[in-house]
């Protein structure tokens, strides 16, 4: 069957958009990449996170907040449809502070973010050490922990189950998924787009490019110039432990199965997903400073993934001016923004255009000539 719309990219971003389009009664075909591709969706840490995000871009703060407001309903719907438990918990989240200086810096950073938006009351609080100890009765904190910031709207979910559930839900709404479907070329033909794959050609009147780091080469062919770079993040995971950490923290969370995820590093080695001993040592040191008892625990795995980074770190959402019907959606917070992608963004794409409040996310913001 001829699809109404083809989504290129079967990661968390593309799958959420495709699922949302299928719910809008679009005939959707989702093209997933190859096993050898860089798959950020399979390396994700699993936070559904608001605190600390959006400095310098109020619209991103609003977007994140809106997506998190949709997350519970989104979870309930997709779990009912697929019977896949996303393990979503939204009981708030922590960012640990080390030293008095670290505590004051965190307060200062969150206050700046708060003032940027000028809303009524903050939805976060600074917890001193004793308040933090009451919140985490099973954790013996390291001596240098002075407290934490607590974000009321933060939470976490299982990112691999989310991806599986999005694919499953898309199929249940009549969509199609093609795996190992690498798009080599896009040719605009009249008002349609012809996608050239290895040994196959697909045609649709509309396309969404959500192919992560593979997107710039495709987007260029439909008049969309999107600057992207890979940023490597490495994560450690421990053996399963009895539940001791009731809330996720930035860089430290205990999953429903009991493993502890420790993350994440940031560096720029290019298209390289190898893991390094340096990263494992650095993450371990940082973690033991917060929870010393974790030094006795066994690590079972370390992995690396590549974040999809724009020059300012914020998402790109745009429709091509030269080739209407071609959209691009790129971000590195595919889990937090999944509800927004499935509900709001997919609805706008189905209706034919992005709303005015998404205009700050157009890549034209990078075209401003730099001052000498």
């Amino acid at each position: 069957m001829r699809p109404d719309i083809i989504v290129i990219g079967g990661g968390t971003v593309g799958a959420a958009i495709a699922y949302g389009l299928a719910k809008q009664r679009q005939q959707v075909l989702l093209l997933d990449g190859d096993d050898g591709d860089f798959r950020a969706a399979r390396a994700n840490f699993g936070l559904v996170w608001l605190q600390g995000k959006g400095l310098g871009m109020p619209a991103y703060q609003v977007l994140t907040r809106d997506s998190i407001a949709l997350w519970r309903g989104f979870t309930n719907e997709i779990e009912a449809e697929t019977k896949i438990d996303l393990a979503y918990e939204q009981n708030g989240g922590l960012a640990f502070c080390l030293g008095e200086e670290g505590f004051e810096k965190r307060r200062h950073d969150l206050m700046r973010l708060h003032n940027q938006r000028g809303e009524r009351a903050p939805d976060w609080a600074m917890l001193d050490r004793s308040a933090l100890e009451r919140l985490l009765p099973k954790v013996a904190l390291g001596p240098n922990v002075t407290g934490a910031s607590f974000g009321r709207h933060d939470g976490h979910a299982n990112p691999l189950r989310l991806l599986a559930a999005l694919h499953e839900a898309l199929l249940r709404h009549g969509g199609g998924i093609r795996h190992r479907a690498r798009v080599e070329r896009i040719e605009p033909v009249g008002r349609d787009f012809r996608l050239i794959l290895d040994g196959e050609t697909l045609v649709a009147p509309r396309i969404v490019i959500a192919a992560g780091l593979g997107s710039p080469a495709l987007a260029r062919q439909v008049g969309l110039v999107v600057p992207l770079r890979p940023e490597r993040g490495q994560v450690l995971v421990t053996e399963r432990l009895e539940p001791f950490l009731p809330l996720p923290a930035s860089g430290l969370r205990q999953t429903g199965e009991g493993t502890v995820m420790i993350g994440a590093t940031k560096d720029n080695p290019g298209f390289d997903v190898s893991t390094t001993a340096e990263a494992a040592a650095g993450l371990s040191r940082k973690t033991i400073e917060i929870v010393p008892a974790l030094a006795q625990v066994r690590l079972v795995r370390q992995w690396a993934g590549l974040r999809i980074m724009t020059p300012d770190g914020h998402p790109i959402y745009a429709q091509s001016q030269s080739h209407p019907g071609a959209f691009v959606a790129l971000c590195h917070s595919g889990v937090t923004l999944a509800a927004f992608h499935a509900e709001t963004l997919a609805g706008a794409i189905a209706a034919g255009g992005l709303p005015e409040n998404l205009s700050p996310f157009h890549q034209r913001r990078f075209d401003v000539p730099q001052a000498a």
Partner: protein, 98 residues
Amino acid sequence: MFRKLHDPGAQTVTIFIDGRPVPAELGESVAAVLLRQPEAWCRTTPISESPRAPYCMMGVCFECLVEVDGLASVQGCLTPVRNGMRVARQQGPRSLSA
């Protein structure tokens, strides 16, 4: 379930499984000794709590996790016995304080 084909003779050492003395032979693994016990299981899983016994015997499957001399989640198949070693069957997930 299993028995040794030969008598280890002078190579015999004693290890303790859940406090009970058990003969073992120098050079064999903790998992091999466990498989000779009337109860061959060595741990229960953190999620389903079902009992598990050593399986692959080559360090891959992680079914043979036991506590050895107070250190939890040790792979029994990769750990040679020592005289006086204290082995404990591991029940469910480790506790962080243990």
